[in-house]
């Protein structure tokens, strides 16, 4: 069946079952491969997108339940060729090694800073607890979130 979606400010009509995961729709139907598959059970955070402004695990979100809420993926963060402050902060802090978790980390951070523009280190760690970085780059990710907060990344 046809499912209507709004992703990164564009409208899409996708022919699939409502139970199909939002991640599969984004990656394989819409070609937005920035969101990653890591576990399929909402445990690693690599697939995180914003649905109606909140961080959601797209691998366990059924596309039929998204409705009219706008979806923002890592591809939707740049504005007029300018990186989002959180993206800039991740580069500045060198907050990645293999970088497979990076899209999920960045999108989760965007959600965090919107809700809490100046989080403490403890709050950062708590909010990102569901995001796994197997390369162990957590200290720099924390630093990137601090930098992004200082640069007004929550705006």
């Amino acid at each position: 069946m046809a499912i209507e979606l709004s992703v990164n400010g564009r409208s899409y009509s996708v022919d699939t079952d409502p139970q199909t995961s939002l991640l599969v729709v984004l990656r394989d139907h819409l070609g937005l491969t920035g969101s990653k598959y890591g576990c399929g059970e909402g445990q690693c955070g690599a697939c995180t997108v914003l649905v109606g402004g909140s961080a959601r695990r797209s691998c366990i979100t059924e596309v039929g339940r998204v409705g009219s809420k706008p979806v923002t993926t890592i591809e939707g963060l740049e504005r007029n060729g300018q990186l989002h402050p959180v993206q800039k902060a991740f580069i500045e802090a060198g907050a990645f090694q293999c970088a497979y978790c990076t899209a999920g980390m960045i999108v989760t951070t965007v959600a965090l800073l919107r809700a809490n523009p100046h989080p403490t280190d403890r709050e950062i760690a708590q909010f990102l607890e569901g995001n796994i970085c197997r390369c162990g780059t957590y200290p720099r990710i924390q630093q990137a979130v601090r930098l992004a907060a200082a640069a007004g990344g929550g705006r």
């Binding site: 990653k36 059970e41 445990q43 293999c98 497979y100 607890e129 197997r134 162990g136 780059t137």
Partner: protein, 723 residues
């Protein structure tokens, strides 16, 4: 599950303990015209091996009809001035795309961002055995520096000829040659314009010493960082081809089970689905991932189970009882080291230590699971896959599909990590088999459960120590046996007159292979825990006890550097607080780790509060990337030290999910201080592995310091500290 023996690795599995012989380089694709490969501009080809082959070719004067077999890497300055470097090494998060480009930038005197690296592509890059063993920095680094320095000299010579001046007046900087006397200058691009000039190098050319490095040796951000923060970088699972279909493989319910009858009636009824059966292999292909999933679920297979010989509970006893007969001859000697007399050393001892240590099977769990995209076109196979050994995967594919290697092209996109776990190309033959049946390109991405079940694991191990302590509090004898985990870093760096050190291959129940630092983690855990026990027995301070037995000044220096940063020895000021230290030598790097833990005896919670890791790997190429590697190794090491373990019984893995297999997360993060000891007088050594080996014993020693409980099995506290 059927037992394996460590002597005969299964097909598609590399040598378990990795080979350290220098790679037998050869440009393996069919011999091609030298200048055609170059395609205009200026090229420098590095020959490894026979220096007599070095020669110059170009402008039709010197004919060199074919590219020699032993090109290790090459560099091209195109007529538009763009610099491209070709190497068979691959990027898996260890940041060598950046650190290698830095070294080229250093010697060629061009900006870092004007260099692009083509890596791990079997048609475009020279043959390479693989990216493992921390060898990229010590071997490929100097090779690229060499060809870059030769290219720079060629450009200076070209400018000198053009201007008819002495080359000594000319300097190369920022991609431009300048005449110091007249001030006139010419960019590299202008020199390369209209040229087709190739040179091979083999002779030892002088390189810029690390102490004079300007670009290398300094922090540099990841060269393609923007692609990663925007989601533009295409990992293998992100590759999409026109007409591409999605594959799924039917996995057995347990290890060793064989496929009997397969009822595929319902699966075939799904629109667009194709079912493939080839011996024990079965899979489906469909136009969308969700249809492939449905088709897989619709298959009705009959399996013949194989009996399981052991479980995660019984595996230590199993490997201990199933040692393979000790080998004689050279290979046997490589696995055994003896000095003095153990009997005499033990007889001279006043105190004795006899203990057994174990490490569990653990999974690499790279966040990017195994994946491949395969395409057949006119009998030629192209496969995109994340592997540490693209050329080996190409050869495996050629042999499996009975085509010549020239008909297989393996492309390795920068990959979402490997940690030693992607020496094989498991998903590649599966995707290729499905694509051949479908007649269309096929993408296959393993699920996390498949990754946890059908990849290979870090070997389980049992380590036995017998040691004696003399009246002078020095170790008189050291007997050490490692069963199955491996011989890496098995030799003690401490001065002990009487030694017997031996690795025992055994039968083993699960598919196992390389893991970051190989057995150096298990051997350091056992040795450095035992050293701590011996120090306590001697009533000695653990660091002083180690230093007393140490004559390697570089290892002593990192121990002292770590101790200084940590404030070792520290006095306990809170209940449950404890401090531990450990270190060692591996792959020519030196690591010393200090750890502070906090143990809550009531709840059993064990928290690593602070880690100091001091690391020395010769001259540092990129301090920023190195710091990231060393820090990341401490975090990754926490998992194996405290809670990671694969659980299995009846040929099934029972915790094949991140919800049941705990890996380090933000809440586990200690304060981490990295101390880098830069030895510009030493050649650079690799750094991706060795920094991990000190963490587990340092934490174990700290737990003992806090509680008096000695934990001799990794993971040490999978469910907290039960007392």
């Amino acid at each position: 599950m059927s037992a394996r023996t460590s002597e005969k690795p299964a097909a598609l599995e590399p040598e378990r303990y990795e080979a350290f012989e220098p790679p037998a380089y050869h440009f393996d694709v069919e011999r091609r015209d030298f200048l055609k490969v170059l395609g205009g501009g200026i090229g420098v080809f590095l020959l490894v091996g026979n220096p007599a082959l070095a020669q110059e070719s170009g402008r039709g004067q010197l004919r060199m009809p074919a590219l020699p077999q032993n090109v290790g890497a090459w560099l091209r300055i195109a007529p538009d001035g763009k610099v491209t470097v070709f190497t068979g090494k691959v990027e898996v998060g260890q940041n060598v795309r950046t650190s290698l480009a830095q070294q080229v930038s250093e010697e060629l005197h061009v900006a870092l961002d004007s260099i692009s690296m083509v890596m791990g592509d079997t048609e475009r890059t020279p043959y390479d055995m693989g990216t493992f063993g921390s060898l990229t920095t010590p071997t490929m680094g100097p090779q690229l520096r060499k060809i870059a320095s030769v290219a720079r000299d060629m450009l200076i010579d070209m400018a000198a000829r053009k201007w008819q001046v002495d080359r000594g007046r000319l300097v190369a900087a920022n991609g431009t040659i300048t005449d110091k006397e007249t001030g006139r200058s010419i960019p590299y691009a202008a020199l390369a314009q209209g040229e087709t000039l190739a040179k091979t190098v083999a002779a030892e050319d002088p390189l810029t010493p690390p102490s004079e490095w300007k670009v290398a040796g300094k922090p540099a951000p990841k060269v393609n960082a923007v692609d990663f923060v925007t989601g533009r970088h295409q990992y293998t699972p992100d590759v999409r081809l026109p007409g591409m279909m999605y594959g799924k493989v039917l996995r057995p319910p347990s290890y060793g089970a064989t496929l009997g009858a397969l009822d595929d009636t319902q699966a075939k009824a799904i629109h667009g689905a194709i079912v493939v059966r080839d011996g024990n292999f079965a899979g489906v292909v469909a136009p969308t991932p969700e249809a492939a999933e449905r088709a897989l679920g619709a298959l009705r297979p009959q399996w013949n189970a194989a009996p399981a010989e052991t479980s995660s509970e019984g595996v230590y006893d199993y490997i201990r009882k199933n040692a393979v007969e000790a080998e004689s001859g050279e290979r046997g000697n490589r696995l055994r080291h003896a000095a003095g007399s153990i009997e005499a050393g033990m007889a001279a001892a006043h105190q004795r230590l006899e203990q057994t240590y174990t490490v569990a099977y653990i999974a690499h769990a790279p966040l990017e699971p195994r994946a491949a995209v395969a395409q057949w076109e006119n009998g030629k196979l192209t496969v995109w896959t994340g592997t540490q050994r693209p050329f080996a995967v190409r050869d495996d594919l050629a042999s499996l599909f009975k085509v010549d290697a020239g008909s297989v092209h393996v492309v390795m996109p920068d990959t979402g990590a490997a940690y030693g776990g992607k020496h094989t190309g498991d998903a590649a033959p599966e995707a290729a088999r499905l694509a051949r049946a479908a007649g269309k390109p096929v993408k296959l991405v393993w699920t996390r459960e498949e990754e946890f079940t059908w990849a290979y694991f870090r070997p389980v191990g049992v380590m036995e120590v017998r040691a004696g302590l003399g009246a002078d509090r020095r170790i008189t004898a050291w007997e050490y046996h490692n069963y199955n985990s491996g011989p890496s870093a098995i030799a003690t760096p401490y001065d002990i007159p009487n030694q017997l050190v031996q690795f025992h291959p055994t039968k083993y129940p699960l598919r196992q292979g390389s893991y970051r630092a190989l057995a150096a983690t298990a051997n350091h855990f056992a040795r450095e825990s035992a050293m701590d026990e011996l120090a306590r027995m001697a009533g000695a301070e653990p660091l002083a006890f180690r230093l007393k037995h140490l004559s390697d000044p570089r290892l002593a220096a990192v121990f002292q550097a770590a101790a200084k940063k940590f404030g070792w020895p520290r006095r306990k000021i809170a209940p449950g607080q404890g401090f531990g230290i450990a270190g060692g030598i591996e792959k020519n790097g030196r690591i010393a780790t200090c750890a502070e833990v906090s143990v809550d005896r009531k709840s059993g919670s064990v928290r690593v509060v602070h880690v100091v890791a001091a690391f020395e790997c010769g001259a540092i190429v990129n301090p920023d990337g190195l710091n990231n590697q060393v820090s990341g190794a401490q975090v990754m090491g926490l998992g194996g030290a405290l809670f990671e373990a694969i659980e299995f019984a009846d040929g099934k893995i029972s915790n094949a999910a991140f919800s049941r297999y705990r890996v380090p997360r933000f809440r586990d993060l200690p304060a981490i201080d990295v101390v880098l000891v830069d030895r510009t007088d030493q050649p650079p050594a690799g750094a991706g592995e060795t920094p991990i080996v000190g963490l587990a014993p340092a934490v174990g020693n700290a737990i003992f310091d806090a509680t008096g409980v000695r934990l001799r099995s990794m993971p040490m506290a999978p469910h907290g500290l039960k007392t």
